[in-house]
Amino acid sequence: MDFLTLIQLLDSTVRLATPLLLACLAGLFSERAGIFDIGLEGKMLAAAFFSAAVAALSGSVWIGLLAGISASVALSALHGLASITFRGNQLISGVAINFLAAGLTVLIAQDWFSQGGRTPSLMGGARFEPVTLPFAEALSSVPFLGPVYSELISGHSILVYIAFATVPLTWWILYRTRFGLRLRAVGENPAAVDTAGVSVIGLRYAAVIICGVLCGIAGAYLSTALQAGFVKDMSAGRGFIALAALIFAKWRPWYALWATLLFGLFGALETRPDVIQAVIGIKVQGQLLGALPYIMTVIILAGFVGKAIPPRAGGEPYVKER
């Protein structure tokens, strides 16, 4: 495998890791606050549709992004209503949200565009174009670092840079701010937060809404940056891979970055079986690579490679007790 192939492979790793990373961090906020979220998939899908649809109608990808985030946040609020206000089962709520998004996106797409559940292809300002970083052109001829900078680091959509910047930001919020302290506390022992005079419900809604915003960006990225338009079921299990990455990352922001990059690499390799064969000398089935994130997560969950301990109050609705 030559250097350029490697750069290309890493480049597509970054592209594929971006939505996983955003969704994973989204799940991190929610689950760190004690609200399990298996509805990441649905929120991403809804956001993918609404951002593409509104971008197509308005011609502006930014308005599209806003619409996508709104749709995702609306589903988050529904999840909050079910699991925080009405203390329902968070897993069942997540399942419902996934189906709601899967059904509604196609239904509305058909109603608005009549193109078999897809949006028109996005062009021009209705799509996120690659951003060329300063000096990318000039430096491209520098050996080694040149291609790394101009091909790998430069030339992604703005959402990619936002996603990567969200990692240190999440870390900072979680461990260096009052909000982060309270958020982590509410996922571990909501009674401690409640008796300290802080609203458990308020904190958990805040976490769920942040989760919605990040899922919204992830979905918008799928349909307005990675692809040029929405197609039915385009999230294609990414929400679940993000969930797997979250467990893999043991609910920590920097680990989330590495986990999603790893899973992104698997995705990139899936389309390049020739590269794998060239590197390790055997033909690896595409299906195996596709299933690898899930298999690795099961192994992690089984506790064979370190123990993944979820937030202690995760999944439990908060009920005041004497």
């Binding site: 298996i38 699991s83 009405f86 239904l107």
Partner: protein, 364 residues
């Protein structure tokens, strides 16, 4: 202390949830510019207005009966099995192997063998998450989700690389031999002189599903094993005190659950497609969740809910055929049912409880 009488708990709460889901679905239909009344009419005629419609309704219902029972049995043990989809896929593989590898002389023997194979394969696929939950404490919801994806990959690999007949481009097995074709309701009812649509796929498996309902009911409420499953589902510390093994019950409940989900394959793979295709399950594993929630995990409730969803599926297909409403409407309705009967249960329950409390105070 119970605030609500039992009938309200068993009938009123699910009914109100269902009505709420129906109202919202109607609003969705209105929002996309169609007439809900017209839509319901079309669905009723399409699904229940002919033996052809009934044949499809019952065919779908059979799938949902199996997956709904699967989710219910796990629920009773306090386990949420989201893996019905993957277990049903593997069940299909079991059926395909049973039907293709052995030249059966008659469909009856083949059916027994295929049922056993489907159950075994489904149970095996549930066994790993069950074991990890029981022994290592790995969250079964997450592992069963993961196993759905792994099952899809396995099936894809097997169909593309191993079981695809030479020369075929389709990722599917060869057709099953004539001898293992199951009698449809047309064949069965024909023997007693009732004419039933020949084209509809409902088959003898429906009867097996009904028997499964009765057996599950007997298991849960009339055997000590069912008693142990329900006890464990209500309280793990109490179960331990009573000498009920959490590991054993987790395994047994999930094996039964997985076997039931797997047995769905005798309907869709053996009874209908008569070969194994990639997307044979078509989400029926997930619909099992909605069916179990709506049926309050009781086999009779599951039976009613499965018929309802069978109706929705067939009716939805008819709608898609005659109007511009896509089939995905059913997915929306399914989501709303799960939402209202499952996650938002308290939204219905809490005001009702307050109402009953007021009535009781009024009496006193």
């Amino acid at each position: 202390m119970d605030v609500m009488p039992k009938w309200a708990e068993v009938i009123l709460v699910p009914l109100i949830s269902l009505i709420l889901a129906a109202i919202l679905s109607a609003l969705v239909i209105l929002a996309i510019g169609e007439d809900p009344v017209e839509a319901v009419n079309l669905m009723v005629t399409g699904a229940l207005g002919s033996t052809y419609g009934w044949g499809y309704t019952l065919y779908y219902a059979t799938n949902f009966l199996f997956t709904g029972l699967a989710v219910s049995v796990a629920f009773h043990a306090g386990l949420f099995n989201i893996g019905g989809e993957g277990q049903a896929m593997l069940g299909g593989l079991g059926v395909a192997l049973a039907c293709l590898l052995i030249p059966w002389p008659h469909w009856t023997i083949a059916l027994v063998a295929a049922t056993v194979a489907a159950g075994l394969f489904g149970a095996a696929w549930a066994a790993i998450p069950a074991f990890l939950q029981a022994r290592r404490g790995s969250h079964i919801v997450i592992t069963t989700i993961m196993f759905n994806f792994i099952a899809a990959a396995v099936l894809n690999y097997v169909l593309v690389n191993l079981m695809r007949p030479a020369g075929s481009m389709d990722p599917a097995t060869a057709r099953f031999p004539e001898a293992v074709h199951l009698p449809t309701l047309h064949d069965i009812l024909g023997t007693v002189g009732i004419s039933f649509s020949k084209a509809a796929p409902a088959n003898v498996t429906f009867l097996i599903a009904v028997v499964a309902c009765v057996l599950v009911w007997l298991l849960l409420w009339r055997t000590w094993l069912g008693y142990e499953i329900r006890s464990y589902g209500k309280s793990e510390p109490a179960a331990k005190y009573a000498g009920i093994s959490p590991v054993a019950i987790t395994m047994i409940a999930m094996l039964i659950s997985g076997a039931l989900a797997g047995m769905m394959a005798i309907n869709n793979v053996m009874g209908e497609a008569e070969r194994l295709v990639l997307n044979a399950v078509e989400g029926a594993g997930f619909i099992g969740i909605a069916v179990a929630l709506m049926g309050r995990s009781h086999p009779f409730g599951v039976f009613l809910a499965a018929i309802l969803f069978g109706f929705l599926y067939q009716g939805g297909a008819e709608l898609a055929l005659w109007t511009s409403i896509p089939r995905e409407l059913i997915v929306v309705i399914q989501a709303l049912v799960i939402l209202f009967t499952g996650a938002l249960d308290n939204m219905v329950r809490m005001p009702l409880e307050r109402l009953f409390l007021m009535m009781r105070r009024g009496d006193a």
